[in-house]
Symmetry: C3
Subunit: 348 residues, 3 copies
């Protein structure tokens, strides 16, 4: 079950150059992405309408894509424009064309009803070229359903256990509950901490022991995490109360954009960037943070894939949520409304 009407991250934009035929499954749909001669992206069903050879094994010709099995040629609209040796081309000879947009360094594909593919719904991730931040980026493939990765990212109480030795996060992630707010297409999770309770990377960035750290992430459909963390002078939390601190007031800060994309029901792709605010030491800090991130995301992958194998191995009861699962449950409910049969699905 996948949310239909939302933008899925298919790739880092830089991984699709003029000659690339980029193949990926998104929510079980076979997709091939390539560039027209003017550089604009095209996303087509990666399955020739003739006999289902993958078009990603084909050949770009002008702005079109030719299947290299028997030569069917498809325009960016998905319409077949040539069948070798045939004078008539049947109306059925077409493959799906998906709305596709390059933004914030990611390639976003819309799997649902194309008429509803509004680029304004693309989440405001931070691109790799954003001058405010110095970012490192990567990706991992999971042998696990995307839902388990989303659940993981929506409940940071796992930081105190899974990432004890990588992030070095303190126990307050497990024992204190963040503020969780419902957003139109996601949830917001905010918390204040002291540096000794957050993580080694903020300490890398030079937060003093008596500083305060504010971190806030929006987790948006279908699985986009955008998190700001900022170090503030002592007393900021008390002064502001429930008000949100301004990014510009932070002594130092960092930002991470993460995307979880379902490939099939049991495999997922996870793309991420992270780094500190721009500054003289930012490159060194970004490198150090990247090493920590890779270790931590390896820890997540190990526990989530083990969780998946355990769940798949046999019958088990329903999960037993705690108050730490509040954001998890809110987001799961939102996703259900956007999936086929849900109130917000507006199916294609």
């Amino acid at each position: 079950m996948y949310a239909l009407n939302c933008w899925y991250v298919a790739a880092w934009e830089r991984d699709i150059d003029a000659d690339t035929l980029f193949a990926i499954r998104i929510a079980d749909e076979p997709v091939v992405i390539y560039r027209r001669q003017d550089g604009a992206l095209v996303a087509l069903e990666n399955r020739c309408r003739h006999r289902f050879a993958p078009l990603s094994l084909g050949c770009r010709e002008g702005d079109d894509l030719r299947c290299m099995y028997h030569g069917f040629r498809f325009a960016p609209s998905g319409r077949c424009v040539e069948i070798p040796g045939e004078t008539e081309i049947p109306e059925l000879a077409r493959v799906k064309a998906y709305p596709v947009v390059a933004r914030h360094s990611w390639v976003w594909v819309w799997i649902g009803d194309p008429a509803q593919a509004d680029p304004a719904l693309i989440p405001p991730a931070v691109g790799l070229d954003d001058s405010r931040w110095v970012l490192r980026h990567g990706q991992l493939d999971y042998e696990a359903p995307y839902q388990l990765i989303n659940d993981n990212l929506l409940d940071f109480s796992h930081l105190s256990f899974v990432h004890r030795s990588s992030f070095g996060a303190g126990m307050n992630f497990a024992y204190q509950r963040p503020r969780v707010t419902r957003l139109p297409r996601g949830v917001r999770v905010e918390r204040w901490s002291v540096p000794r309770n957050v993580n080694v990377s903020l300490r890398i960035s030079g937060a003093a022991e008596d500083n305060e750290v504010y971190s806030s992430y929006d987790f948006l459909v279908p699985g986009i995490l955008l998190m700001f963390s900022g170090v503030y002078p002592r007393g900021t939390q008390q002064r502001l109360g429930d008000a949100t601190p301004r990014m510009a007031d932070a002594v130092s800060s960092n930002f991470t954009s993460q995307a979880v994309t379902p490939m099939t029901a049991e495999t997922s792709r996870y793309l991420f960037s992270w780094g500190p605010n721009a500054g003289p030491e930012a490159g060194t800090q970004a490198d150090a943070m990247y090493q920590v991130m890779l270790m931590a995301f390896g820890e997540d992958k190990a526990i989530i894939e083990a969780q998946h194998r355990t769940m798949r191995a046999g019958p088990h009861p329903a999960p037993l949520p705690t108050s730490a699962d509040r954001a998890v449950l809110l987001f799961q409910r939102l996703m259900r409304t956007m999936s086929p049969g849900g109130a917000e699905a507006r199916e294609a």
Copy 2:
């Protein structure tokens, strides 16, 4: 779904010597093939009637085969002739025996009703010892259904795309339609070309630019391709009209025999030979042609296995045939009539 009453190629005859217990699945049937003391072939169900250990892990004793799990001994008829320690052998203690014939360098096995196993139905493949040709041979296993390989071999329009860089076939394979004739147990596919449009191997064989090339293959149940290609002097096609040119009139020629054998619903074995007519340079030509063939058959395997993975990954519409699929459709229809439930099935 498999055609029942036809001869399947199980192996190269030379791969089964006096000591071999050759195991293969054919159309999902487990088969073990071995030789009696007089050299005659025996094909038995490769599954002991006692507890289903494979007889191919057993031992030949005289003309019989003994299971090396608990010692049941089976005669070439499939009848159990000894159960150690038992005085009576139940009537049920037998395994299937399949009609088996060595001919044209291949071992042919009949899976359907044994009473209908007429060796006259064995297609006239060219054996490796045929003095008219100098042949090289090989085989490949596919992770794909045999139907997809048959489809491939029945529509040479793929030569212009899949084999552009190996065979170097011109575009006329895609843009011109061959003559397709229905045969009693297959289809015949014929075409005239000029050498620049055919393939590198014919050019290896020294065809001049102004020659004409006639190629004709019979594709016979369950998946046997027998193809003659001959180079003729300019004007031959016009002079002959629809008449078939004589092999003996060819300036040079080559022959290929190919067999597609379903092992299971999703795995297949592909056996093939190819080479030029006998002559002073034939050995060198055969070696060169063999290299081209291996490259080309690797290209087929890559696209067909990719096609299969795509088809298996999820629901898709029916194929959209073109006029190039005429032989494909004729042969598919013929195979349906020979499969269980079909008009020609004459089930066992």
Copy 3:
């Protein structure tokens, strides 16, 4: 289908030390085994009640086990004693606790109704520290159902074929039937042989050609083989008739304990020890016997896994038992009565 109310061998006791979190599936149940601070064993469901992460990736804390995903902490009783950040712990927050006993060098786990877990039902295997014997031990994992391994061990007629070259067993195993007796929780299989018909290891132990060998094994639910083999002076069998010879009267002897544990429906673990009676040459003999045992058990694994692949590959008739299958059939019937729905199942 698994017998519920019996003790399954989970591990060699020496493989679970103070720091081990030992994970194994037993009869499809995920189990984690560890030691309390006083050394006593604990066996819990290896699946956190919160979101199903394996507890074997967790952390021992005192006598408890903490899940290292979100920190749920479970007592040896299976009760959750802490959920970080929660003041109330729901009654549902518990995992199964299995009765577990260390005895005869093995760790035994009871999967069925805990109220019926009577340690008196643990079969009298011989532990590695038993001063009467000098034992070597090992284990193998099978890609095959445990039933096929039990069947193998209940019918030694396979020795004459499978182990012709390892044990060097003579043909009498195939041609003579042992005495089979039904036991309350298993079957007893006894036979007298002459040394040239038994096996190389008895010959290693120095039995003279005119000795007689008595071997007797009890095969007990769910798959425990306990076998004594003794060399006796000529005439012993005739003198004793059906009476059982005394171990102490043997010129030389050996003992093997073997356990077959179903992990899943298609995977099994096999644990075993073997060795001669204590004596000056016993260490050397034990080493030689161990080499033979490893070779023989590799032969069993090869034929049984091949049998399983053949059975799994497609439909086949029911097995065709012989009089050599008497112990097999008695034991299969006993196991059915102990499986869910069976007369002796006394389900939990």
